[in-house]
């Protein structure tokens, strides 16, 4: 479903990604962990075209994105990829000038050109699913962080994506709100939605993902089924992350 190969990216002469290869199969929930600054966000943002890269290739559901595309080809491919890949941000990024319901129907109505009634019906179902059916007419600022993040998930799901990209969806939340959001994501994973979850919360990764990739200084240093990596980390980086968690 997602195929990343030889991805290289730098900001000026500061290398951020130094040859990343990554494959995510259909229906697989994958976690990417790594220390702060290791390039996790950059990697997922390259996948849906919010960042450009210098070398390598990204393929999502058969759509190939590489650095040799012309501006227009790239534009077209990126938009097609974004329709298949929903994204949830660390800071929720709900539209503050719209109500919760308007946030959720924004994409279906204006991008997918769905009828308003149909979009509302779809939105209400999703809001129910994330436990916020009663807050449809609220404004984002009236909601807690955990509630806002659940709305952001509903907003992404309303586009019926085939893949979901989560960039540290819980790291701005306190433990109780984290639980609400993790429950929603876990629910999606058990439904068989393909997803990449970037996190440095080990418990969260263990909870939702089957596979884990460890990113260190722009390279994937360890990959494998989540239990194996957690039980028996091979790389220095993975051990560091796990120790850090145990010490905390």
């Amino acid at each position: 479903m997602i195929d990343v190969s030889g991805l290289v990216k730098s900001h000026g002469d500061h290398p951020v990604l130094r040859g990343v290869d990554l494959t995510v199969a259909q229906g697989e929930a994958t976690a990417i962990i790594g220390a702060s600054g290791s390039g996790k966000s950059t990697l997922v943002r390259c996948i849906n075209g919010l960042e450009t890269f210098d070398e390598g290739k990204v393929a999502v559901d058969g759509l190939d994105l590489c650095c040799t595309l012309s501006r227009r080809e790239r534009e077209r491919t990126v938009r097609a990829i974004r329709l298949r890949a929903g994204m949830v941000f660390q800071q929720y990024n709900l539209f503050p000038h719209r109500t919760i319901l308007e946030n959720v129907i924004e994409g279906p109505v204006h991008v997918l050109k769905l009828g308003v009634d149909e979009a509302i019906e779809r939105a209400r179902k999703l809001l129910d699913r994330v436990g916020l059916g009663d807050r449809a007419d609220s404004r984002p600022r009236e909601l807690s962080g955990g509630q806002q993040q659940r709305v952001a998930i509903a907003r992404a799901l309303a586009m019926k994506p085939r893949v979901m990209l989560f960039d540290e969806p819980t790291s701005a939340l306190d433990p109780r709100m984290t639980l609400e959001v993790v429950a929603v994501i876990k629910d999606l994973a058990s439904d068989g939605l393909t997803m990449i979850v970037v996190t440095h919360e080990m418990a969260f990764a263990r909870n939702v993902a089957q596979t884990v990739h460890v990113l260190d200084e722009g390279k994937i240093v360890e990959s494998g089924p989540i239990c194996e990596v957690f039980e028996n980390p091979q790389s220095q980086a993975a051990r560091g992350l796990l120790n850090h968690v145990e010490a905390a």
């Binding site: 539209f95 000038h97 109500t99 994409g107 449809a136 007419d137």
Partner: protein, 528 residues
């Protein structure tokens, strides 16, 4: 209405100062009543200085800066005053002021006498003491030699090729007054702020002719930039240039009269006038002047005259309409243009576009509005682009304000977190849709207060459009208070009218802020 005869003066400077002048006019009108008049002639004698007020801005041949090195201050009035002061045994000292405000400056006691092509009028002799005349002026029509006008008489015939004759005059001048006599079906009188402005429009063919004071016409026809114009037909009409002193200064007036009389008799006055090529036979009548012609007319006016307001409120309202029209037509253009400029300057835009737009913003913000209007109206015709006064006014204001609006929006757009754009893009929106549906609406809320205050400022800036021959509210106030009097009455009425225009805007902006803050219903802005 009385006729006034200003010397020619381009208008670049004096309009910008006009709002300040309004305040000082009001203050001087209020304070002058309480001032204890000292004897000016005695002061002149003890200080050895006779200070005369005039406006140097393009005031040839009256008072101006010589084109030839060493670029001293010259003009027939300069030489005349040097001689007059000599006769009094003192030194003449020039003091610069806006032409139309010279009498107010006189009231403020900053000068002793006004000498600047001021005509003898009944209205002025009510409040000031005139001296005997030093020049008999006439009016002269100027036109292109191969154009349709060859004399004043032509203007009473239908215009060949149809339409009205377009005749430029210096607003509020003797020529303006004379032009009232034209048949309004045949002739449209266009009022300019500076004599040379009208000549420029004749040169570019946008108006048929201009009626000017003879000295100005004779002077400018000799200058290279207007030498293609010709004096169309003989000079007509006549009036007198006199000096004015304050009402109490009888002694000074008598001393000036004696000096002028002596200069007229000795032929020195004639020599000066001949030097500036403005002597003609009409000046012979100066010799036989008798004093009772300039005797003051005994009338008085109440301190606060409400009948003035009653009579002229429709006129003021009509000019307020011009102000509103200019502001309301140009602001939407400025808002829309500003938005596109701001979007074009976002970091994602092509470098060349960003560079061009930054240059535009800096140039427009860095130069005065007056200069921009002047270019649109007086310089573009030289390149073959003819804009009507309204078009030039609306366009000029829109261009000027678009640069300021663009900067406001740029700040507004920058204040929206990057995550908003990214979230919209991640939903599959194009950049332009993301701007339109997500970023701009949020930025709009932030920029409403600064844009509103710009709109209010724009209302006041429309006054600069008087340089384009449009008589908006401030210009009308200036004209009325100069001609009819009523500096205080019209000042208060004008101020109130401006306030009436700005208050609704403030309320509107509050209402819009509330609306954007409040609940807007689930389907606001639904489907396109």
């Amino acid at each position: 209405m009385e006729e006034d005869a200003p010397p020619p003066r381009p208008s670049l400077v004096h309009l910008t100062i006009r709002s300040l002048v309004i305040i000082s006019l009001l203050l001087s009108a209020i304070t002058q009543a309480s001032a204890q008049p000292p004897d000016t002639l005695a002061n002149v004698r003890t200080s050895h200085r006779l200070t005369y007020g005039a406006d140097e801005e393009g005031g040839a041949p009256y008072i101006y800066i010589d084109r030839e090195p060493p670029h001293g201050r010259v003009g027939f009035e300069v030489e005349l005053m040097d001689r007059v002061a000599q006769k009094l045994g003192v030194r003449a000292e020039f003091s610069q002021a806006l032409w139309e405000n010279l009498l107010q400056v006189l009231d403020r006691r900053e000068i002793d006498v006004v000498v600047n092509g001021y005509e003898l009028t009944e209205r002025r002799t009510r409040d000031y003491l005139p001296t005997r005349p030093y020049y008999v002026y006439q009016l002269q029509l100027m036109a292109l030699p191969n154009g349709p006008v060859h004399s004043l008489a032509d203007l009473s015939l239908p215009r060949p090729g149809g339409g009205q004759w377009q005749v430029g005059v210096l607003g509020n001048s003797a020529a303006d007054n004379y032009a009232q006599k034209f048949d309004s079906r045949l002739v449209r009188v266009v009022r300019f702020d500076g004599a040379t402005n009208a000549m420029m429009k004749v040169r570019s063919g946008q108006i048929d002719a201009t009626l000017q004071d003879l000295p100005a016409a004779q002077y400018y026809i000799r200058q290279p930039e207007f030498s293609m114009l010709s004096l169309a037909g003989p000079a007509e009409g006549s009036g007198y240039y006199v000096m004015y002193v304050r009402k109490g200064d009888v002694a000074l007036r008598d001393a000036l009269d004696d000096a002028l009389d002596a200069l007229t008799r000795s032929g020195e006055l004639r020599a000066i006038l001949e030097k500036y090529h403005i002597w003609n036979d009409a000046q012979l009548s100066l010799g036989g002047w008798s004093k009772d012609k300039t005797a003051p007319v005994a009338t008085s006016r109440p301190m606060f005259d409400l009948t003035l307001l009653r009579d002229f409120i429709p006129t003021l309202l009509a000019s307020a309409g011009v102000t509103i029209g200019l502001a309301c037509a140009s602001m939407p253009l400025a808002i829309i243009a500003g938005l596109f400029i701001a979007i074009g300057r976002l970091p994602e835009s092509p470098r060349v576009l960003r560079w061009i737009l930054s240059t535009y913003v800096e140039v427009i913000r860095g130069t005065p509005l007056m200069l921009q209007l002047f270019v649109l109206f007086y310089v573009l015709p030289e390149l073959g682009i003819l804009l009507s006064p309204w078009a030039a006014g609306i366009l000029g204001l829109a261009i000027n304000y678009s640069a300021y609006e663009a900067e406001i929006y740029r700040a507004g757009l920058q204040a929206i977190p990057r995550g908003q754009m990214e979230a919209a893009l991640a939903l599959g929106m194009s950049r332009s849709m993301a701007l339109r549906r997500v970023v701009v609406p949020q930025a709009a809320r932030i920029v409403i207060p600064p844009v509103t205050s710009d709109f209010i400022a724009l209302f006041k800036d429309t006054s600069v459009c008087s340089v384009l021959t449009l008589t908006e509210l401030t210009k009308r106030y200036s004209i009325l208070s100069n001609n009819v009097g009523g500096v205080v009455e019209f000042g208060i009425a004008t101020g109130l009218l401006y306030l009436l225009m700005s208050l609704p805007l403030t309320w509107l902006s509050r209402a819009m802020e509330r609306r954007l803050d409040g609940v807007s219903g689930p389907l606001k802005g639904g489907k396109r």
